[in-house]
């Protein structure tokens, strides 16, 4: 118990340190930054060594927080945190769908690769290569396939494309984690199962899956984070409305007149990541008996 309390304490210290560094630099750094090799009269030339610290580039933290409680775009519009939360929940839902698809696909691939060495040789290189395809190249492809399907009569909402793109990122760690985890049981345990003359499925259920849990949890954590990042980026690159990614871009566009506003959705997406990681941590607590003997929790 004291160990987890210490971990929480250090977490808080870490966050405070980041905030302190931000404010400290804003206080001490040059307002217009430090640029080397700038050509006189030519805008944007030279190389920016130190970032600008003026209120437009680096708003105060308290301004960012205060902005959350001011109306979104003037008038009687609701405070900024309301659309931020709505958008974050939208993205969270899409990311969750993406994660589920990614986990299912990753599990099936991992199972196949563990069961059949030939499948591992045939699939693993492609799985690795798949992750080197940049998302901005891949996203419009998915979107256009989706809209084609939609036009042919099967409804294909835009969010489904986003979920597919998110799953494309999240299936990878799951597939690799499942493959590694299912191969984790000790020789003596496999021998034991053999002496009981039980088949593949019983061995999978009673030995391989439980023994895989310590490998699956980090894989799921990575997969969940990837799903969130994937969903945010995919929203932007296929231009889906309603999610946090789109909101971030929109408000960043007005950044010069309202510099604290884009920080609202930024906090929103950080919160998304925390929710995703927290969910997996809860799953880990539920499975704690399967993590006995693990070096660190």
């Amino acid at each position: 118990m004291t160990k987890s309390r210490a971990a929480a304490l250090w977490g808080v210290v870490g966050v405070l340190a980041v905030l302190a560094v931000w404010e400290l630099y804003k206080f001490a750094g040059p307002a217009e930054g430090l640029t080397v090799g700038a050509v006189e009269g030519e805008n944007g030339s030279g190389f920016l060594l130190l970032p600008r610290t003026n209120d437009r580039a680096m708003p105060h933290i308290w301004d960012m927080v205060a902005r959350l409680f001011q109306s979104t775009s003037g008038g009687s519009t609701p405070p900024l945190f309301v659309p931020v939360i709505t958008a974050a929940l939208t993205t969270l839902g899409i990311a969750a769908v993406g994660l589920v698809i990614g986990v299912v696909v990753g599990f099936v691939l991992g199972l196949l690769m563990q069961r059949f060495r030939l499948a591992e040789w045939g699939l693993l290189p492609w799985i690795v290569v798949s992750q080197t395809v940049p998302l901005i190249a891949f996203a419009p492809l998915v979107a256009s396939i989706g809209s084609q399907i939609d036009r042919m009569g099967t409804p294909w909402p835009q969010w489904l494309s986003v979920a597919i793109i998110a799953s494309y990122l999240s299936f990878f760690p799951v597939a690799v984690g499942v493959l590694r985890g299912l191969d984790a049981p000790d020789r003596i345990h496999l021998d034991l199962m053999r002496t009981y003359a039980v088949g593949y499925w019983q061995t999978l259920l009673r030995l391989r899956l439980p023994a895989a849990v310590p490998h699956l949890l980090p894989a799921l954590r990575l997969g969940a984070a990837s799903a969130v990042v994937g969903a945010v980026v995919a929203e932007v690159s296929i231009g889906m409305r309603g999610g946090i990614g789109r909101m971030l871009i929109q408000l960043a566009g007005q950044g010069s007149s309202d510099p604290a506003a884009p920080w609202g959705p930024t906090f929103g997406s950080i919160a998304l990541g925390l929710v995703a990681a927290g969910t997996i941590a809860l799953v880990g607590i539920g499975l704690k008996n399967y993590r006995r003997g693990e070096a660190t929790a």
Partner: protein, 290 residues
């Protein structure tokens, strides 16, 4: 000694019925193990390792046989061949008149490895009942059997603990209970008492001979301890390494009842000396005897 009773179980009662007719006939189906010219070669990068060669051994149903010999002489390998965890490179191996594979599929044996090999995510009870669960035994029956076995190995108060909360000796006792769970007619045990303290060890030795008698199970028992081999066995198989082979098979002829008084008897010491001499390959000075 307050021996927990297994007398209510069906196999135990048949064991008691046939207690008088212990010496079984020598036809091949009543043999628990029959090895004829069995050899095992492990191919490795640096060349073939001859782990076993020319093993001739029969174990009658209900017979207790110990394997003893220096490290690396192939005791575990022989046990693994019998258990069909490895396959023979040469020779013929039959378990109850069947191939080793068929015997494994028919669940003719229970095994306790050199390491406990408990599943860390299962409690003591969960580990003991694993084979029963895998073979679809009903929950109520399982619970009763677990209680019986746990008290047999002295772990009744620990059934809800996890393996990482047990000492090495306690883990080994769980593994022994697990091997006994399905009342197999052949027990394969690889140094099961190696990690135990002397008290528990002697207690479990007594219990093991009693269980083997009651259930009529044959036992192939690997050990490094000469007194243990003599105390437990009907016959002691002495092995030697490079290449692993059987050098001598010594009947102990100590009778059916293995009580604590046997440990003090002159015949017992005589057999211990005989096994020691067979192990060393030459007569041992009497002064060396403990």
């Amino acid at each position: 000694m307050s021996a927990p009773t297994t007398g209510s179980t069906p196999a135990a009662s048949t064991g008691l019925d046939s207690a008088g007719t212990d010496s079984t006939g020598a036809d091949s189906t009543s043999l628990a193990v029959r090895a004829a010219g069995v050899g095992k070669i492990f191919p490795t990068k640096t060349g073939d390792v001859v782990a076993l060669t020319g093993v001739e051994l029969t174990v009658a149903a209900g017979e207790f046989v110990s394997l003893i010999g220096p490290s690396g002489c192939g005791k575990s390998t022989l046990l693994r061949l019998i258990a069909d965890l490895d396959s023979t490179s040469s020779g013929e191996l039959q378990i109850f008149g069947k191939s080793a594979k068929q015997a494994r599929i028919d669940q003719d044996y229970g095994i306790a490895f050199q390491q406990a090999g408990l599943l860390p995510w299962r409690t003591v009870a969960g580990n003991i009942e694993l084979p029963l669960e895998l073979h679809g035994v009903a929950k109520e029956t399982r619970r009763a059997r677990v209680a019986e076995l746990a008290s047999l190995v002295g772990l009744s108060d620990f059934v809800d603990r996890y393996p990482d909360q047990l000492s090495g000796g306690m883990q080994q006792r769980v593994a022994i209970a697990r091997a006994l769970a399905e009342q197999p007619r052949l027990l394969l045990m690889d140094e099961p008492f190696g990690a135990l303290d002397e008290m528990t060890r002697e207690y479990l030795q007594g219990e093991l001979t009693r269980i083997a008698k009651d259930t009529g199970a044959a036992v192939v028992f690997v050990t490094h301890s000469i007194p243990e081999a003599v105390f437990l066995s009907d016959r002691v198989v002495v092995m030697s390494p490079r290449p692993g082979r059987i050098t001598e098979i010594l009947p102990t002829g100590l009778g059916d009842v293995r009580s604590e008084s046997l440990r003090e008897s002159p015949e017992y010491f005589e057999r211990v000396t005989a096994v020691r001499e067979a192990l060393h390959g030459s007569p041992v000075e009497r002064a060396n005897e403990r």
